[in-house]
Amino acid sequence: MIKIVDLEKSFDGQRVLKGVDLQISEKELMVIIGESGGGKSVLLKHLIGLVKPERGKIIIEGVDIIGLRGKEIDSIKEKLGVVFQGGALFDSLTVYENVAFPLKEKTKLSKGMIDERVLDALEDVGLGGMENKYPAEISGGMKKRVALARALITEPKIVLFDEPTTGLDPIILHHIHRLITATHKKYGFTGVMISHEIPEIFEVADRVAFLHDGAIVEVGTPEEIKNSSNPVVRQFITGSLEGPIEAF
């Protein structure tokens, strides 16, 4: 479904991605873990089309999206839903308007249909009755849930999550993870998630990929990653200061 081939990207002469290869199967939830500043979000931005690589391919449903422009890239983006790190909710719109926005702009649904779908989506993420609040009036956890509802409202085939639980307390974190698992089952999307949340992420992921030094060094099921013999992976998941990864 998604195939990343030999992806390379530099910023100001610094190589961030040094040949990323990764394949994500249909309806799979792949979690990409790795050190902070290691290029995970840059990799995700390539999938959204926000960043162009210097080399490599990103094949989504058989189409290499690198170099696509105009309507061609738009048709790929219409298959995507994105949950941004900070939610990226539109400040000037209410919770209802934020979730309804993609439907109003991209579909010809009637107001009644949009109302029904938005209210259902807000119920699904436990935010029924919050439709008229503005993003500034709700908590960080609620914003992430609104962002999830907005990403799923068009029932996309692929959902990308950029650290959806960063900065949340453990209870809200588990709640969001449970929501992601439930919506993944309900909608059957292919998911790519960037996360640091070890070990919680192992409960959510179908497979986990470890990005280190600009390349994917290990891919496997949560059990395989937990039992990995790779010293870099072991150090990361145990959070040890001793090992090949230098903290500073």
Binding site: I48, G49, V82, Q85, G86, F90, K106
Partner: protein
Amino acid sequence: MRNIVRTIGSWFLSTLRGMGHMFIFLMHSIYFIFIPPFKFNLLLKQIRFIGTKSMVVILLMGSFTGMVLALQIFHTLRKVGSEAMLGPAVALSLIRELGPVLCALTITGRAGSALTAEIGIMRITEQIDALISMALNPIRYLIVPTIVASIIVFPLLTAIFDVIGIYGGYFVGVKLLGLSSGTYFSQMEQFVDMLDIRIGIYKSVSFGLIVSWVCCYKGFYTGYGAEGVSKATTEAVVMSSVMILIWDYFLGSILL
């Protein structure tokens, strides 16, 4: 010596690149003005923000500019015994020069800076990325309504500024300094013609384009964090103000 030449060359190239980037941004924006779907709701929202919400400050600025002008010009004209020319002097100064320029500078300070900050915050909080990820063009949603609203609103606010300024001048010249009302207005009618009004309109339309272009560009390509937005806002106001004055001179030279 070599280093100096290299530094100057590098500065020149980077300035040229920046100007090219700004110009391409403008061309993109103008292109999307004519390509449907048109976002009328967003246009009305921006007209309200740039226009309606600037009314009070424009009324204040216009009235006091006219009053100060009348006060200064009256005393100068009295020295040569030409107080009767007060009306045309105030009207021509306002319509051709001060109205468009001061109005544009005022809107830059009130609305331009806010536009840069708003778009800049949308950039750093990934709201613009969110639009792109939904296959929606941020230029169409954020920039085009602002540019079109500015082109509509600037001449209207300038016209209000001019009228209020003329009445401010009337208040000082006629009510406070004793000039007759008929002299003030009849001389004005004789000396102000359609070309003067057209010059004012051309200027205000072009200032609307300049201010919205610069402020939107600076917000759209803001730097990181609060510091980036603050720097972009300052640069937008300074650059818009300088460009207004430079363009005012060139347009004045061409049209007069």
